[in-house]
């Protein structure tokens, strides 16, 4: 009885740059990263940031213009896709429409030199793993979107690749199915201990499935860290704004002592953990909408503001509040809170709320 195992290996980029054709602007600019074996790492970023190019360079579908790519410690920079031990699940699934589900899953096995019996055995095990036993004789067009997606995963898994790549695998599924499938992917990854690199532009999806997230912007890595790191301690305004929503306020660092910074925000003074690189002088503060607490106007340690708009969205209330630093976006979990448009309020910043960020 064949079982799908894992041959997880690490992936490493050393100063990799990719420039397409005669374009002057690099699609990926001198990035270095290291992905440990058996981890699920997400490449996250807006469209055109270079995340898909990075993924395709791991697959060998694009060749790096300069730099080095290592998989499992071996240099694969010049190796074409055919010769790399990497499989990929495509956004469109790319199931061969003229082959049945079985033929699709067996396709890669046939070219890997397995004896025929093992090909059949492994394909069966692969389909079983994704819960599609008995669907082997169907054509891809006879399956639902979610089922096609699982066939694509099975087809990639049965090769027991060193690295499994996902290129926005959920973008063709409806919202409910998306949550379900992403949990399945995460389960299989953890069960088999696969190295998975996952590309998405959906930050919620990234936060939910990843061991680590690499946020990319403008062809470079903006931040690399665990989901919690990224959400709670974004390194810069881009990450703060891209992952969840954030209010960015200009502030001044007055002093730093024992790693605690004393920060002035208008008339307020807040103490926060200082971060590497912060020095006294002008700086920026990022605050999540849910981490601002509304108080009645004039309450102690609050920033004064006027509510421009209050919106009831079911699970919580959303406010646009005019302050001396521009508009702030605030959410309040208490839907019965007594705040209305036009009212003046005080914005309170509890500990672990605001975060100092670089420019």
């Amino acid at each position: 009885m064949a079982e799908i195992k894992s041959n997880a290996a690490s992936v490493e980029f050393r100063g990799v740059t990719k420039i397409y054709g005669r374009s002057k602007v690099p699609a990926v600019n001198d990035i270095s990263l290291h992905i440990e074996a058996g981890k699920l790492v997400t490449l996250l970023g807006p469209s055109g940031c270079g995340k898909t190019t990075t993924l395709r360079m791991i697959a060998g579908l694009e060749m790096a213009t300069s730099g080095q790519i290592l998989i499992g410690g071996a240099d694969v920079t010049r190796l074409p896709a055919t010769d790399r031990d990497v499989s990929m699940v495509f956004q469109s699934y790319a199931l061969f429409p003229h082959m049945t589900v079985d033929e699709n899953v067996r396709y890669g096995l046939r070219f890997s030199g397995f004896p025929k019996k093992e090909v059949i055995e492994r394909a069966r095990a692969g389909l079983e793993l994704v819960g599609l036993s008995g669907y082997g004789d169907r054509l891809p067009s006879q399956l639902s979107g979610g089922q096609q997606q699982r066939v694509a995963v099975a087809r990639a898994l049965v090769l027991e690749p060193q690295v499994l790549l996902f290129d926005e695998p959920l973008s063709n599924l409806d919202a409910k199915l998306r949550r379900h499938v992403r949990e399945e992917i995460r389960d299989i990854q953890q069960k088999l201990g696969l190295t998975v690199v996952y590309v998405t532009h959906d930050q919620e999806e990234a936060l939910a499935v990843s061991d680590r997230i690499i946020v990319m912007n403008n062809a470079v890595i903006a931040q690399d860290g665990t989901p919690r790191d990224l959400y709670d301690a974004p390194a810069n305004a881009f990450v703060a704004d891209f992952i969840g929503e954030a209010n960015i306020f200009p502030c001044t660092i007055e002093s730093i002592e024992n790693g605690v910074a004393s920060v002035r925000l208008g008339a307020l003074t807040i103490s926060l953990p200082g971060r590497g690189g912060s020095t006294p002088g002008p700086a920026k503060l990022a605050v999540r909408p849910g981490r601002i607490v509304l108080h009645p106007a004039g309450a102690a340690d609050t920033l004064p503001g006027t509510i421009q708009k209050a919106t009831y969205v079911g699970s919580h209330l959303e406010f646009m509040i005019e302050t001396e630093f521009g508009e702030a976006f605030v959410t309040a979990p208490d839907v019965d809170a007594p705040f209305k448009a036009g009212q003046t309020v005080g914005l309170g910043f509890p500990p672990r709320g605001p975060v100092l960020i670089g420019n």
């Binding site: 195992k5 579908l61 896709a81 469109s92 003229h98 396709y107 070219f111 054509l139």
Partner: protein, 758 residues
Amino acid sequence: MSVTKRTPSLHPTLVLWATVGLVGYCLLPWYGLRDNFFTFSWLLDGWPLKGSVAPALFLVLQGEKLWLAPIGILLLVPFFLWGRKKTDPLFGSLLIAVGVVGLAWFLLQGFGIGLRGFSWEWLKAIFGDLKIRQFGMGWGAVLVGTALLFLLTLGLAARGAVGGDEFVVGSIGFVIATVGLFIFMPILQMLASALVTQDGDYSLSVFFQKLFSDRLWGIGCLTGGPRCGVAWNSLFLAVLVGVITTLLGLVFALMVTRTGFRYGAVLRALTVLPIITPPFVIGLAIILLFGLSGFFTQAFAELFGVQPTRWVYGLPGLLIAQTLAFTPIAFLVMIGVVEGVSPSMEEAAQTLRANRWQTFVTVSLPLMRPGLANAFLLGFIESMADFGNPLVLGGNFDVLSTEIFFAIVGAQYDQAQAAILALVLLFFTLGAFYAQRFWLGKKSYTTVSGKGDAGVHPHLPPAFRNTVYGVAGFWTIFTLIIYVTIFYASFVKLWGVDFTLTVDHYVKAFAVSWNEFGLHWRGSAWSSFWTTMEIALISAPLTAGIGLITAYLLVRQDFAGKQAFEFGTMLSFAIPGTVIGVSYVIAFNVPPIELTGTGIILVLSFIFRNMPVGVRAGVASMSQIDRSLDESSLTLGANSWQTFRKVILPLLRPAILAALVYSFVRAMTAISAVIFLVSAQYDMSTSYIVGRVENNEYGIAIAYSAVLIAVMLAVIGIMQLIVGSRDIGRRREDGNLSQSRTNVDLPGRGQPALTGGG
């Protein structure tokens, strides 16, 4: 997991090509044979020692043709790479060196040493006169040349060209080599021979004198003289035909899409007829109807008591015949474009208070511009290249294509004159090609996106619609009369004189009887008929193959010089068949490639004349297959050849069918290039028919044409059945696979956009 693949000590592709090269060098006759190679009679004819059938190795060992020795040594060099991997820098470099040096030497000796020893003066100056001569290359040389080419591409791939993919680099090399050899080289040789005078000298003044002669450019007809220059005649006719066919094509397309006309399918079926009709058959029918003893001429003369005239010979007849022949092509181009205009654009215009007529003029028509330009270009080129109609209908109205023919087969036999005329013809068609691109510019006319478009096309304003119906109705009736005439005339004893029904013509052409040797093809047409079938059946798959490979490279691969590559492969579309014919005669009449009089030259001319059709069909349907399918196949461990074979080809089945049928039909009906290339042994149906027409044996000519039309209808039907039925088994229950969305069915909309000249 990766199963360790057995790594042989020598790269398998290298072994393959080195072996092919050695087989060619050591076993097969180096020079071209007088008989067909595949009869293998050469094995009994003194092989391997006798000079005319000896392989290169035996020639060299006997001390003859010693210049072939270096090639043999070069073919052994790759075996020094034993045990080296493809990634080893030496591997690639050595193969590149072998390939470049080998091919250079191969071509140098081929072109340098010909029938009279050294072909070039400077070689004689250095080495003195060479007493030995050599003939055209044979199969041995072909294998060696191929092997050297692929060793070179393997070397380039090993050095990392196009992502290091052997199959892709090899295909690119192959296409470039064949297109260079069979399109560019003949055209260049023709250019060169345009400079040669009758005495064999090079002379620019004679060249210019011929180029600007009155015969070509005279404007006598404007000032009351008898005739204008041939070039003006051709240009005038081509522009007229281009404009009229485009307008008619538009009328039909509008009728099918925007008038609620319910018999669009019938109309589309009708458009198949001219494609399977040899172009001059329409001309014949025109003669039967309007010629001196034509049906309508006689009727008119009797009714009004006037002398019947030869009015139809010349411009009027040509215009009618070519318009009838080429309108369906314009229709096929236009219907694609007219349907492609997104209904939502027109609906948007209507909601912005434009009425139907304003919508049509301001939105629909401008969006159809690429179609109009394409249809005009096709009509123009077709008319320029048309050879059959001017030959039978031209009268005193001389055009370039027939003039070229008479320059080369006539009493004057003036190759340079033919080359100069061909140059003028080429200048016009390439000019039109560029003018079209210039006119379309870089504007985008694509309106239909991948998203579903729920709107419907607005109908035409009623007055306009009635005009459209009127024109279309008249045309349809006229076409039907033409075909009925062809059918009827084939059973008539002597048209215009004796209308008694008879099957004599068929008997004379297609009689079959039994004699002591079995079945005897007694009819006079059988020989050319079977030759035509054979040549068409051989060239169709080859055309489709090279076309689809080229399409794959264009759509799926990126490499330096891709634009030049695309231009080169599409160029033969703008080269009229007449020009191809002349250039082949000039280029392949002497060693190293000596092909005139063989069937191979016919096959080659068909492949490279019809290649753009295969390319277009392939490009059209390959663009509809998502690229991620190839990529996923690659990441699953298949190499690009396996991907092409297992994923792309199966999805391209409609395109393959279209390319196959089309190149088959074109090979059966072509005349313009063929007329220069046929020989007594390899006569083709079309040139046989034209010969009968010239002898005034209209009956046989028409009977033969009717048979050809019937045969081609049958072939198209059978091919559609074979390819179609296999599909059904697989895809009975699904309607939305990518391949079923391709529009390359027959008679599809996109592909016959390329027809070239009959």
